[in-house]
Structure formats: C-alpha cells, structure tokens
Symmetry: C2
Subunit: 297 residues, 2 copies
Amino acid sequence: MKVGVIGLGSMGLGAAVSAVRAGLDVMGIDLNPEARSRFSDAGGQSSNQLTDLCGADVVMVFVVNAQQASDVLQPVLIESLAPDACVVNCVTLAPNKASALADRVEKYGRLYLDAPVSGGAVRAMQGEMSVMAAGVPAAFERAQPVLDAVAGKVFELGDRPGPGSRMKTVNQLLAGVHIAAAAEAMALAAQMDMDMHQVLDVIKDCAGTSWMFENRGPHIAEGDYRPRSMVDIFVKDLGIVSEATDCLDSLPMTTTALELFSKASAQGMGKMDDSAVALLLARRAGCQLPGDPEGQS
Amino acid sequence: MKVGVIGLGSMGLGAAVSAVRAGLDVMGIDLNPEARSRFSDAGGQSSNQLTDLCGADVVMVFVVNAQQASDVLQPVLIESLAPDACVVNCVTLAPNKASALADRVEKYGRLYLDAPVSGGAVRAMQGEMSVMAAGVPAAFERAQPVLDAVAGKVFELGDRPGPGSRMKTVNQLLAGVHIAAAAEAMALAAQMDMDMHQVLDVIKDCAGTSWMFENRGPHIAEGDYRPRSMVDIFVKDLGIVSEATDCLDSLPMTTTALELFSKASAQGMGKMDDSAVALLLARRAGCQLPGDPEGQS
C-alpha cells in the first residue's frame, strides 16, 4: 500500500513515521527542507512535489488550515491518485469546509474521510493519536491499514463529513481554554512566589488538572517556549470555534482565550509555543517568569 | 485517637467516613440533620454541638468559607481539645486568612495544619483525597493517623501556614475555569446537534480533556443538576483567586469564569450543581439542554 502524508509538522511527522514503522510505503511531502530531513532521518522518503503522490492509495493531509488543504487538494492531485484512493483529511477546519472538500474529492471519484486528530506530538510519534472520523464505510475500509498504523483510537462518528470536524471544534475549544488557564495559573503561582515544579507535581493529582496543564505546564516551569505548537495555531483554531455558533455570548471562555492568544500574537509571540501566553500574563503583573526573553529589562 | 470532623458536606463526609473505616473514634459535627444522618447511616457518631469535640486529638474543619472557619474555631472550642491536639483546616480560604487562624490556634497552645483538599467526593469517600498541607513537623506527626485514613496523597508544602492555601488557590483557578469550559463546550456541542454522550466518550481520549470535563460533563449530558458542588462555591472560590493578586489583568480567564458563575447565581442557580452554568450558556444561544427546568416554555 502506497501512502502519502502531506505536511510533516508535529502531528503529520508522527503519523508518517508510524506508517513507516508499520511497514507501509510512505512518501512525506513538505515545502520545508528541515521537516523533510526530520522524516528522512526517521527512515522515510520525502519530497516537496505533490506529483510524487501519483498512484497513492491513501493520502493523509496534515497542513495548517482550510486554505492550505484546499490548495493541495486540487483536481490534478486527486486524479493522480489510485482510482480507489482515499483522502484522509486531518486538518482542523470548520465543519462546513470539511463538506466542501469532501464534495470535491468525491467529484473526482475518490473516497474521503473527515478525520481530525488529537493527542499531541508524543502520542502521534508512537502511532497512538486519536482520530475523530466520519465518512462512508468504503473510505474507512480503504484507509484501515493506515489508521491502524497511526491511531490508538479511531472514533467512527458518522457516514458523512462534518461530525469529525464538529468534534474537533469542541476539542479545540477545551484545549485552547485549558492552555490559557494553565498559563494564568502558572503566572499566578509565580506572583505568589511558589515553586513552579511543585505546583505541577501537586496539581496533577488534584481536580484542577487537565491534559493541557500537564503537557504545557512544564514548558512554563522550565521557560522553554520552543514551538511544539504555536500561539498562532490557537488564534486560528479558536477562530474556527467562534464561527461554529451565531451566538458569541454562548462562548465567553473561548472569546477571552482567543483575545489572549491574539494579543500574544500581536506582540510578536505568534511563532512561540502556545504556552508563551503565560509570559504576557505575568508581565501584566510585573512578574518575570523563567525564560522570558524580555526579562532583566 | 479521638477525631472530630466539623462540616459533613461532600468532602467532610468522605473524610469522616474514611476515618471511621480506619478504626478511629470519630465525632461528626453539622447543623444540618440530613448531613448528620448521612454520616450516622455510614456508622458514624454525630452531633450539632461543638462541645461534643471536648478532648479530641485531631479536628478536621470542612466548613464552607473563612468566616465559618473563624466562627467555629473560637477559643472556647480550641481550649476544649486535648492539650496536644491538632486542628487540620481543610477549608478553601485566602492564604493570609490561613495564617490568622493558625496564629489563633497556636495562641491557645494547639497545633495547626493549613490543609486544603482536592479530588472530589468519590475519592474523598474512598479515603483517597489529595491534601495540600503546610505546618510544623509536630502538627504533621499528630495528624498522621487521620491523614493516613483520609488521604491518597499528602503534599507537605512547608512548615508555616500559607503554602497549602496558595496551592489550593491555584487549583481552584483551574477547577473553576475548567468547569466553565466544560459547560461552554457541552453547550456548543448541543448547538451543533451533537450526541452529548459521544462527545464525553471521544474528548476524554483527546487533548481537550480535564478532570472537571470528565467529572462534570456527565451531569450536563444527563441534565442532572442536583448539587454535588454548588455554583455558589465557585462564586466564593474564584473570588478568593481574584484576591490573590493586585493585578486582575493577569487573570482574564478567572475573571470571565467568575462573571459566569456570578450571573448564574444571580439568576437563581446558586444552589444548583456548578455544571448548571451550561444551562445559562445554552439559553443565550436559544438552545435547550437536557433537564433544563426552564425548558418547554
């Protein structure tokens, strides 16, 4: 089985490496030579040309946003795939955009799965990501060997595109708000002169814990803001959440978190790790967190 | 060893029952006859008179707020305890108030632990709560048999009162924001016509999960707002969080969540389960959640 992975960021790289490990024939596509060489180092073949996906049976898409997904899923690409190929779209996008891309892929006779993922880079690299998928049974069947290789759990949410993206929208609401909460909690702990590593150790055993607190908290305690996932990703994703309802009044937490990520981005932190919003909150209180590049001023 | 437990709410009852199970001689104090009979049904002795704590070796305090803690910890009570007794104050209160109560207890020659707890009613009932404790070594030593009975983990955070309450403040920031986030996520899922039980099932395996999402989410999916912990508790606790810094700008998520709990309380939902803020958010969007008492109008 010939597999393509478009986009070798943290989740795409994890999926591509997991597919190689499962013995599949994988071609990874990325415009960024560093991303390609990370995949090559892990034993994969890579290219910057979508034409190298010619004849692929399954193509997973891990680009950044709906626009990029639309750009790569052009008719010329779709028609170059195997006649019964399945496109597995793992991009976080608004539910209505998932439907539009599905229509395009199906128009050219290929199968489509609306299949956003979650679980973080570590689980992705272990082939244990969670996949929130929807599509026709034939699409699940075609993609099965790849899903088996990359996913710890595949939730089958329906037979038309949309439910996968809706579930991812709910997940991103929680994820974004929880990152902002973790940042705020750690910034408050610093204001109260607490030992930040002790805070991590205690809270993970208490009712205040979250997946994001346990994952991003250590970045803040260590002052390590190298981007595992960037501030700008949540500017985008909480924007998608905000568009999922006509009633923004029903999303006060999302709105506040989006404002925080947006302000951080406007202050030049867009390409930093999303936990860097803690720096912005601590600075407001005149408190310096570890690793603050504006420190000692 | 004679143990007193003042306040038989969800956490206090769990602690009292766990202490009985460990073979300790426990007297539970509560003004509410229903709370007392729940403890009697579980094999405990109870009373509505603080004088029944005369001669106690360890007294755990589980009342609702700092004012009640100050009211019960009067000199007359403190002096009635065993000469080397330890007061274990498990109430969530501002760090500076923990110090004031410690000073009072120590003035009358007894030991004091600043010991807020977390982990929820289920773990409390199993004797597995987490305790964030600070106090002199003699206080830890005196309270040890009781802590062993009620706690899964005891974090020893310092030898003066304050660090326990500071840690609890950080925990409540996260807990309150996560309840609001869970409510907002479930209300959005309902707006998108999603199956709410499926949302719970999928998200718990994704990066959007939190202790509170997994604990409170089912209340919302089932429309069951009987108070396991009330909206008004988080009006109080997020108030304590807000007072922990002079810079409210560093607490945007807390501020938004506090506003939400306060509005719910103002609309008559103060005694409902804290997850009932989901009803308020869904109503704003004209969407009816299961179990909404204002439904079908």
